[in-house]
Symmetry: C2
Subunit: 452 residues, 2 copies
């Protein structure tokens, strides 16, 4: 192990160069014009695995390819599936970036680039830990199967089909995913819960064209006003979601969870600094962390209708619309919630307008085990990597594939994140701490050792 | 008079050609790229007046020019100021036009083009009535002063400065404006009331950037939701505006007005056909005509915020905004209403977001006399032109200049409209009935004669 750790120490700046190289691929999966860049990025990863002596393959899909690589030593007791994604979010608004998103920029201990923390930096941690073993001549103490996809940020991902079609190939004892955050700088965490998601789109239709607001205003429903009145009915005055039956299946927080989270070094002031929001606001009787980690939401992601240009236009618009996503918590099912949502919208919308509801995608929430061989190994590894015992937290976002690993392969997932929640994931100026990156590699090296 | 009427009859198709020529100028005042087209249009009108023997001049302004023309015969008792505007609304969405907006298209008795009814067709009615007199060798029985501006559809109009600066030039006994509608096909109207307008723009600001709705959703205010909750507070369940003091100065409808309007051949079914709206909706205890003509509104003209592209984006947006116009009725003052509006918005908005209110323009409502020499003449002229006694109605739109004529020149205005409320004014496929055009010219000829 000493040789492995020495290698990591000695190659600290080479590893940063590896990260820079990987971040240069503009692998935006949502935009088809980058299709070839995703392919190149997949080939690059394959070559990287092969250079380390792993067997690797690029599996084409109808979308972007899946990179698979494995290290098998029959002497090892355990096999770990390492999941990550090499595709990244779009970069707009580009004008808010201080440096070009695909020209990694290092300032002190921070690297700025799209994908730095989500998820290229985090998946690379595991590959470099493998390198540290194999390049210093130490056999890996655990068998590893890497599955790196290129469709996490756009969807629908072909990995959902690949998994059931390749059960034998993917056979393992557990899954490791590094695509979440630490609790805070210097405070590592193991994430054991994820929210799910259900998405919808509402269109409210009034007159058959934009009408002159002088000649007609006041006599017919204004679709924007009616949409606003509808949205205003989504929450009560305590910011509880008013959709009938919305909370029916919600698994309430356990007293021990609330106690544990209350001890975490969270302050609402810090939260306001991170978000720039004027105030915290959410469901009454829950703390900020509880609201984000364990309570469902009904969030409007976008709204549009009528005239939005410079100056004014005196119209009663023909229609207005909005995009909605609901984050779900354990117990809730996306299909059930979308059905309840649709029913509620039609129930409370004004009869003076026509209302269309278009439901799209859904991902189930997830709760993973807090005590198994992976969690035990991770606790020890994090303590060694970051010098501190990890806390147990949940995460407000969704990683839908976690449910698929469970349902199709029967595997538990370890959610072991190395980035920070202010790393501007999905935002301009995405970043990753090179210290977290370095300590992440040490942690991964220990994790493999602890799996024995 | 017979010779005048014969000339109108004999030149019916020539007059249509004159209209086509005038409609070909793309005189969109809001778009500076058409500046030269407005100038050409103004020159064209000047030349038209001069060809009839009138003294005409194009007055340049910092914006688009004002065309002035006069016919003075000292033997005449009265002088009438004829106001109109040769500029037109923008044409977007262009794809909804069945024919190019500046290539007038005639189908049966209807002409389609931007400006056909608003206001080129209607101002031309008066010019052609002048032609009918002068070309048949009959002196005009009334002195006329034409003021045609090119900034009615964009603003701020320089005519508001021109009038007080040219009081001597514009001295007259009354103003005629043909920029309103008839009550219905075959039923002429004299309009005696106009709504005013006050405009505002609201911006609701939350986090300092779009945030990941998984990592932060549920813990801070969503600006779109808060904007919607704010808009929902603009009206109560009876669609009465809830702004404190909004109705304080509203001059209530007189019983005789309500009785008179109740007799008009209006049906809500017809209104729904005209608008394509699923239902009528407005302030309780008022009819559709009362709501549009004599009740104030608070209308959202546009709303925007967050993601509006294809698919979804899981964000809590940084901000959201909307554009608001309030139509005002006699008694209400735009500055007072904007002050009350701003106060109310800040009073009822969520303290968990920052709210900015930007007030822009305002025009006072107007009530004009229903009995004076112009109205008496118009009643007789309309009866001769359209074969039917006119009804007395109001109009939901605003013509701000009417108040300026009153305040600066002490003049009453006659609102004598020849178009229909389904002529798609401000919408794609604007049109004008050539029958209304023809009967309008006959009416104008009689109006001049009745002014004696």
């Amino acid at each position: 192990m000493d040789k492995v750790l020495s290698y990591i120490q000695a190659n600290r700046s080479k590893f940063v160069n590896d990260l820079v190289e990987l971040l240069k691929f503009p692998s935006i999966s949502a935009d088809s014009k980058y299709k070839n860049d995703l392919l190149k990025c997949a080939d690059y990863l394959k070559a990287k695995f092969e250079a380390l002596g792993l067997k690797a393959k690029v599996y084409p899909t109808a979308g972007h390819p899946i990179v698979y690589a494995e290290y098998i030593n029959p002497a090892n007791k355990r096999t770990l599936l390492v999941y990550g994604h090499y595709d990244v979010q779009p970069v707009d608004p580009l004008n808010l970036w201080l440096h070009p998103p695909f020209e990694p920029f290092i300032e002190g201990e921070t690297i700025y680039a799209r994908g730095a923390s989500d998820d290229k930096g985090q998946l690379l941690v595991h590959i470099l830990a493998v390198e540290a073993y194999l390049k210093s001549g130490i056999p890996l103490p655990v068998n590893l199967k890497f599955v790196l996809e290129g469709e996490e940020e756009s969807g629908p991902s072909h990995l959902f089909d690949f998994i059931p079609q390749n059960k034998e190939l993917l056979k393992a004892d557990g899954v490791v995913v590094s695509d979440t955050a630490m609790f805070a700088k210097g405070l590592p965490a193991i994430t054991y819960g994820l929210r799910g998601i259900a998405a919808s789109e509402i269109k409210v239709i009034g007159p058959n064209r934009d009408l002159h607001s002088g000649s007609f205003g006041g006599s017919i429903a204004n679709p924007i006003t009616e949409l606003a009145r509808l949205i205003a009915k989504f929450h009560d005055e305590n910011y509880r979601v008013k959709i009938d039956g919305f909370y029916d299946d919600v698994r309430e927080l356990e007293p021990w969870e609330r106690e544990m989270w209350a001890l975490l070094p969270h302050t609402d002031d810090g939260w306001l600094k991170t978000t720039g929001s004027p105030a915290v606001l959410g469901e009454k009787s829950y703390t900020t962390l509880e609201r984000v980690w364990a309570r469902p939401t009904c969030e409007i992601n976008g709204i549009y209708g009528g005239y939005s240009g410079e100056g004014g236009k005196t119209i009663v618009p023909s229609w207005a619309g909005c995009k909605v996503t609901m984050r779900l918590v354990p117990g809730q099912r996306p299909d059930d919630i979308l059905e309840k949502f649709t029913k509620y919208v039609h129930k409370v919308a004004s009869p003076a307008v026509k209302v269309e509801v278009g439901n799209t995608v859904g991902a189930k929430p997830a709760l993973v085990e807090r005590d198994n061989f992976m969690v035990k190994a991770a606790v020890k590894a994090l303590e060694k990597g970051f010098g501190k015992k990890p806390v147990f937290m949940r995460e407000g976002g969704s990683i839908p594939i976690v449910n698929t690993f469970k349902e199709e392969l029967g595997l538990e997932t370890l959610l072991l994140g190395f980035c920070q929640n202010d790393d501007n994931v999905h935002s301009p100026n995405e970043k990753f701490s090179l210290t977290d990156f370095h300590q992440g590699i040490i942690t991964a090296a220990h994790l493999f050792a602890e799996m024995k």
